[in-house]
Every structure is written in C-alpha cells, then in structure tokens.
C-alpha cells in the first residue's frame, strides 16, 4: 500500500511504498501502476514504477497536485490483482572477450570465474523495473556472495547487450550507453526494439528471467 503521497516538483506525485527492496513491496507498486494505467485517470501522462516508489506525472494544463492525489486516493486497487507476467530465458555469452569485468569480479567476490558463472546461472531473477535507458531491466536478487559495488569510474561506453552486475541486481544494456555496472557477459537478444511500438520491451516489471549460457560461436551466429 502507499504509505505516503507527496509532490515531486509541480508535475508529479511521489508515491512512497516503503524503503525496503523486496518482491512484495515491488508487486504492490506494479499493481498500482497497472491499475492506474488501465483507468486512464484525467491529466496523468506518465507513470514510473521503481523498487518501492511510483511517480505519477500529470499535465499541469489539465489538472493539479490536489486533484490527482484525490483521484489516486479514491482509486480502488485490487491488491490481489493477478499480474500477467512472463517467464523469459535470456541466452548469455560469458566468453572472456565479452566478460569485461570478470577479473574485477573474481577479486571483489573472492570467487573463481566458473563459480561466479554457476551462481549467476542457477538463479531465477525478478524484474523490479525497466528504465534509466529504454527497456533496461533491473533484475534481482543476486545472492549475498555475488554482490559487488559499481565501478569507481563508470565506462563511457558499455557495449549493447552487456549483462551487468551491481549490488543485488543484474541488468542488460539495451543499447550502447555510459554505465558503471560490472559487465559479466553479453546477450545477442534484442531486449528493446523501438520498431515494435506496442511491445518494445522483452522484459517487463514482474517478469521472471533466467539466463542460459551460450558459446561464442552460438553468440556470433545467433538468429532470433
């Protein structure tokens, strides 16, 4: 449930669901997000769900803070709403040429490359949110012994498709971008496709993701 609603600037509601990062709080955020999206509340022009917050943006020409707040407070959100989510398998190649930060990870985590790979593949991930750059999924949770800090100096260019690890999360760079995550592999799959306007993102909040290792040959010859 929403614990508190305040304003972010003069064009958004800042809905706070708590401070912890876990599936249960995040599922509440996603339920609110989906309900509000369906209902098409007057003046609302954007919604940004994240781990434990929901930002509701509105057009100040059509409405204002108090009116949107009232509409949200009066909204009937089905807390038992069944989220229509998918299970997705992402092929990933962790060949040394694509595993840019494997040495750093080995050192920080004090684990061998094979052990890191094994831990990484033996895990089901939950998509908490997408964003920062178009379609980038934030996936969790990595086990305690797999959690590394982001790079001290971010890379100016992280290659498209890179699979990164930071703290309790894994992500996928949907296109070349600056970034500071520890890059462990690369996927040939198009996780974001702007030509598919109705469904440009392969992974959406609430989805379950697993990774499957592929060889460098399979990576290079990958055909969707």
């Amino acid at each position: 449930m929403i614990k508190n609603i305040s304003n972010l600037g003069d064009t958004a509601l800042y809905c706070d669901f708590g401070n912890e990062v876990n599936k249960s709080i995040n599922s509440q955020v996603i339920k609110y997000f989906k309900t509000i999206k369906e209902k098409k509340v007057k003046g609302i022009n954007n919604l940004t769900p994240s781990y434990n917050k929901l930002i509701i943006s509105y057009d100040l020409k059509q409405t204002n803070f108090n009116e949107v707040k009232k509409n949200i407070e009066n909204l009937n959100v089905e807390t038992n709403l069944k989220l229509n989510t998918k299970r997705i398998e992402i092929p990933v190649c962790c060949h040394e040429s694509l595993s840019l930060d494997v040495k750093r990870l080995e050192k920080i985590l004090n684990l061998s490359r094979d052990k890191i790979l094994e831990n990484f593949l033996n895990k089901e991930y939950f998509c908490y949110m997408t964003g920062f750059i178009a379609g980038m999924p934030f996936l969790g949770d990595l086990d305690q012994n797999m959690r590394a800090q982001r790079l001290e100096t971010p890379r100016v260019k992280v290659p498209k498709g890179s699979v990164g690890l930071t703290e309790q999360f894994a992500n996928i760079y949907t296109f070349e971008s600056p970034g500071g995550w520890n890059i462990f592999g690369n996927t040939p799959v198009k996780v974001f496709d702007s030509s598919l306007e109705d469904e440009p993102t392969l992974i959406n909040p609430g989805d379950t993701v697993t990774f499957k290792e592929i060889s460098l040959d399979q990576y290079k010859n990958y055909n969707e």
Binding site: A12, K37, Y51, F65, M129, F175, S177
Partner: protein
C-alpha cells in the same frame, strides 16, 4: 521523392526534429523529449500558419545551413538567433519572430544562437518524416524518433509532404526574458543535505557547465554537502528535478533525461521557468529561489495565459 525539400549544406551542432514529445512511456525508460523551449516552438509554428503541434527543426548554438528546392514556402525562426537569407546574389540578415518567403535556390544560413542555447526553424508546411509513438522528436541517446533517432547530417534532405496554401507573412515582437532566479520546489531528499549545503543551494550562484545537453544541465559552484547517503534506491525522475551526486555538483534533468536515477533530489525547477532554464548557456550564472507548490501552480497558470496571449496576437 518529394519535389519540395531542403538540402543540408551544414547540419550545425545538434540539429533535430522536435514536436510536443511523447508521453506514457516513462515505465519502459523513454522520456518525453520534445522541443526544449516550448513557447518558442509554438510561436514559430504559428508564424508560418502551421498547426501548433507540427514538427519543427530545433538547433543548439550553431544551426544548419540549408538550400531550398521547390515552390514558394514560408519559414520563421524563433529564439535569439543570428541568421542570413540568400536569394540569388544578395544575402540579407534575418530577424527572429518574422516569417519570410523563399523560393527555389534560396538558402537559409543559421549562424548561431546568441547568449542562449536553442533556436527553432519552422517551415510552412508538413515535413515528410516518420513518427515513433506519435511523435517525431529525436532522442539521439536512445536513437528514438524520426531520422532513425539521429541528428541531422550534411547532404541529407528535409522533405516536405505539403506546403501551406496560407502564405500570409506574420510578425510578432517577443523578448526572451532573462531572469536572475530560477524558482524551485523543495525535493524529496532535501533533508539529505547539511544545513550549510541547503543554504548554499539557495544563496550561492552556480555556473552552467559545458557538459550540458538535452539530457541534463550540470552545474558547477560551491559543493553541496550530503550528510545521509549519496545514493538512494533508483526511482523515477521528471524533467526539472535537481539531483546532487557524491561530488556535490547539482545536475538538472532536462527533456531527454534518464527515466530513473539514484542520486538524492534536492529540488525541482518549476514548470513556469523551464523554457528560460534550458536557454541558459554554459557559463551563465544560476541562482535558485524556493517557492511552494501552490505558488508554482499559480505561476504556471500565468505562464500559460501569457503564452496563449502571445499566440493570439500572431
């Protein structure tokens, strides 16, 4: 192939197609984009008898040099812009906020914006460009929008699907007011900063850094000290939000901003001041002034009324 087109002789620094932008896509990581200075965008369209939400050419600092092929067409430039119009062998200096008619073989050379960042070139007609999510707005970082999401380049053509039959010449007087203070509302992490840091934020001047673009405006000046945590769990952002990373230098989110961010938010620029904010060139001094939400809403109403008033006079 279109019979009426502009050929780009020189593209300028960051020349893109823009319109009102695209909404309902934050949740997949896509920001609004759209013309940075909304008022100048609308005025430019009105001056050439376009629909107000028509696609337009936005440029930053140095603009494009274009050569026209086709039937008579009107154009207008808004902002603080220095440009020339070349007809046959004569080249005249153009004035902003006036429409001009040009014909086959004429050239428009947009030399630079003056003490500002963005300028707008509206063409009297409909551009032949592809929309993405209902908007042409080019986001070069995500390669979204018309022109494959890339800025305009030398040698390419800007094709017109249609030229407006209404070729009335229009003119207006508008001054882009420069204000000393940018008004802000307190941010959701205001309490993360030390008393001294909060005082610095409202009382000291900051300088707009060269590392500013359509995504964000970086500021330099006295450091704002954080006493709680320099990172928060990533959460949604909106344009105008001012984040302060660990180095203590504020960054203001602009129209092409990343949709989520993990730095504490000290404030947010009010909507009424956004057009003026984005026009502050590197080296400009910014001072923030705190106002409350209800004053910000009132200021926006006034801004809107003034905009409608300006448009109705054209």
């Amino acid at each position: 192939m279109s019979d009426n087109y502009f050929e780009i002789i020189r593209p300028g620094i960051n020349t893109t197609f823009q319109d009102k932008g695209r909404d309902h896509l934050y949740h997949i990581g896509i920001p609004f984009s759209g013309a940075m200075d909304n008022r100048n965008y609308l005025i430019a369209n009105k001056l050439v008898n376009n629909n107000l939400d028509s696609a337009i050419i936005e440029f930053a600092y140095q603009g494009p040099h274009l050569k026209y092929t086709g039937g008579k067409i009107n154009f207008a430039i808004t902002g603080d812009v220095i440009f020339t119009i070349k007809k046959d062998d004569t080249e005249i200096e153009g004035k902003c906020y006036e429409s001009y008619q040009i014909e086959n073989g004429n050239e428009i050379n947009i030399i630079s914006t003056s003490k500002s960042v963005y300028g707008y070139l509206a063409l009297g007609g409909e551009l032949d460009i592809k929309l993405q999510w209902n908007s042409c707005s080019i986001n070069t970082k995500a390669n979204i929008g018309s022109n494959d999401g890339k800025k305009l380049d030398t040698g390419q053509r800007v094709n017109l699907k249609k030229i407006n039959s209404n070729k009335d010449i229009k003119k207006t007087s508008y001054i882009n007011t420069k204000i000393e203070n940018i008004r802000v509302i307190k941010g959701t992490n205001f309490d993360y900063f030390s008393e001294e840091g909060k005082k610095i934020f409202y009382e000291k001047e900051f300088i707009v850094s060269k590392l500013s673009d359509r995504m964000g405006m970086r500021l330099e000046g006295p450091k704002i000290e954080n006493i709680i945590n320099t990172n928060i769990k990533s959460e949604g952002l909106i344009k105008g939000v001012i984040q302060v990373p660990a180095d203590g230098n504020p960054i203001i989110m602009l129209s092409d901003h990343g949709t989520v961010g993990g730095y504490p938010k000290i404030g947010a620029v009010v909507s009424a001041d956004y057009d003026r904010l984005v026009q502050m060139a590197p080296g400009s001094k910014i001072k923030f002034k705190e106002i409350n939400l209800s004053d910000a809403e009132t200021l926006f109403k006034l801004y809107e009324m003034e905009t409608q008033n300006l448009l109705s006079q054209i």
